[in-house]
């Protein structure tokens, strides 16, 4: 069952929990996953997002999130001005297929040149689900302390990573592994109840076959 503050809360900038607060959280999650400030963002808006984004400030909210602002930050309404000179944003409306009506795809280029595509949906009440990261199907809610790894798909990797968390006393709430093909690159997402310490992240990065590991805090 949900918590009290899912009903009385969150504190947010209006007008819409799904089109504004959820959008800001999507932007902030994408920023976390990119791991550095974005210099460029091409944002595809689908469905209801595409139809009403200006009236709901969805565009401002997504950019605010990409700038690291929280969904209750009053600067959210000025986010497009704040982005001027440091983040070049383009909005396009696009049919992304059979996805949630409030879906956005964020194509980001970080200040270091790192590229990332994150697709996510705002599913109501400010709740979000990240559904795709660089072509991998995922399911990430931004409510937990999350560890994401990109690794080679071979036996034992998952056990080694979860062993690191077990030693830290970190409890895994949800876990999902996906891969593009057998034996190739795989993506693992672990959502934990407790914060995952930086040294645990370092240990995960040392696991053979792990190519990338990053922590995404709750947003």
């Amino acid at each position: 069952m949900r918590g009290v503050f899912d009903i009385v809360g969150p504190v947010m900038i209006g007008p819409s929990s799904s089109h504004t607060a959820g959008a800001a959280r999507l932007g902030r999650m994408a920023l976390s996953i990119l791991g550095e400030p974005p210099a460029e963002a091409v944002i595809e808006l689908h469905g209801s997002f595409a139809q009403t984004y200006r009236g709901h400030g969805t565009d401002k909210a997504l950019v605010a999130g990409l700038l690291g602002l929280a969904a209750d930050d009053e600067r959210l309404r000025d986010a497009l001005n704040m982005a001027a000179g440091r983040l070049q944003v383009t909005f396009v409306t696009r049919d992304l297929g059979d996805v949630h009506p409030n879906t956005a795809a964020l194509n980001l280029t970080g200040v270091s040149g790192r590229k990332l595509r994150v697709v996510g949906a705002s599913v109501g009440g400010g709740n979000i689900v990240i559904t795709e990261i660089d072509g991998y199907a995922v399911e990430l809610t931004g409510e937990y302390y999350t560890l994401i790894t990109v690794h080679r798909d071979k036996p034992g990797v998952i056990a080694l990573v979860t062993h690191v968390l077990a030693q830290e006393g970190v409890n895994i709430a949800f876990m999902r592994v996906s891969r593009q093909e057998r034996g190739a690159q795989a993506l693992m997402i672990l959502e934990a109840d407790q914060p995952i310490p930086e040294h645990a992240l370092a240990a995960v990065r040392h696991v053979p076959a792990v190519q990338t590991a990053l922590l995404v805090p709750p947003v």
Partner: protein, 294 residues
């Protein structure tokens, strides 16, 4: 462990422990989240502070929303309150004005507490703060009342829906009115049983309400519906405090709301494809704002 998934269970827990419903809900959250109870209480205090700020800034502002469709009406109500010519009594009038104020702040990209949603964010603060002023309630009483609203909202979310896209406006403004009705009964010294009846009475009269926002915005009719929702809550609470009982128990009303949501056409569930959103005026507004004509 404090566990409840129905209003009857929540009322029974409060009766057994001889505590207010809000206290039980606070206990529930403490156990569920495994966080210190004082921290949870303080977090609700912050929500109360945000609600109060939204009321104040909404009453003071005459700015229009981005679309120009709403804004300034709470200030109009405040003016009329000051000239002393209102037809409604002070609590009812203030509840409507405060709810309007918070909803206008929401439409203007200001800070609010979703309660349970942003579209219905005016009802609970409108009703609770207006009644609180009339009764001279302290902040602790208001915080406890917010826990009561949360408990009611949790049960409705669990057994029906709090999303306009799923259940229509009954799920958002209806739920908020039910939450507020139960909580203000408790603020006025009513029993847990009266809390249950008040929320049932409020919700029954919002059943079937469709979500038909003009141009897809959380403005028309949402902002004004918040004012009416708050008034609804006050009337339901007064009826329950007078000893009136809902013939249909609260949980069955919630189940009925769920059933109605399931059969409600998609065009009347936040898609702006029917109802007020398809009136000639709404179509013209949509065309003006977004260049669409169908």
């Amino acid at each position: 462990m404090v566990r409840f998934s129905r209003i009857a269970e929540l009322v029974a827990l409060a009766e057994q422990q001889q505590k207010p419903v809000g206290y039980i809900v606070w206990q529930y959250e403490t156990e569920r989240s495994q966080r210190p109870s004082q921290e949870i209480w303080n977090q609700m205090h912050l929500n109360l502070a945000v609600m109060r700020e939204a009321v104040q800034s909404g009453l003071a502002s005459r700015e229009k929303s981005l679309s120009g469709l709403v804004g300034g009406d709470a200030a109009r109500m405040k003016d009329r309150l000051q000239d002393g010519s209102t037809l409604c009594g002070s609590a009812v009038y203030k509840a409507a004005a405060y709810a309007l104020a918070v909803s206008e702040v929401n439409a203007g990209m200001g800070r609010i507490v979703a309660c349970p949603t942003a579209g219905s964010c005016g009802i609970v603060p409108g009703a609770l703060l207006a009644v609180g002023e009339g009764l001279g309630c302290d902040d602790e009483t208001l915080v406890q009342a917010l826990f009561t609203t949360a408990g009611i909202g949790l049960v409705i979310a669990e057994n029906a829906s709090i999303s306009g896209a799923k259940g229509g406006c009954q799920a958002e403004c209806g739920t908020a009115a039910a939450m507020a009705a139960g909580a203000i009964v408790e603020m006025a010294g009513g029993t847990p049983r009266q809390v249950g009846h008040a929320l049932a009475l409020a919700l029954k009269n919002m059943l079937g309400l469709v979500c038909d926002p003009v141009a897809g915005l959380v403005e028309v009719p949402c902002v004004k519906r918040n004012a009416f929702g708050a008034v609804h809550a006050l009337v339901a609470a007064d009826m329950a405090l007078a000893g009136i009982e809902s013939v249909i128990p609260a949980d069955e009303v919630i189940d009925a709301m769920h059933q109605i949501g399931l059969v409600m056409p998609k065009m009347l569930r936040e898609t702006s494809e029917g109802g007020l959103a398809r009136t000639p005026t709404a179509v013209a507004i949509e065309k003006r704002l977004f260049g669409k004509n169908d």
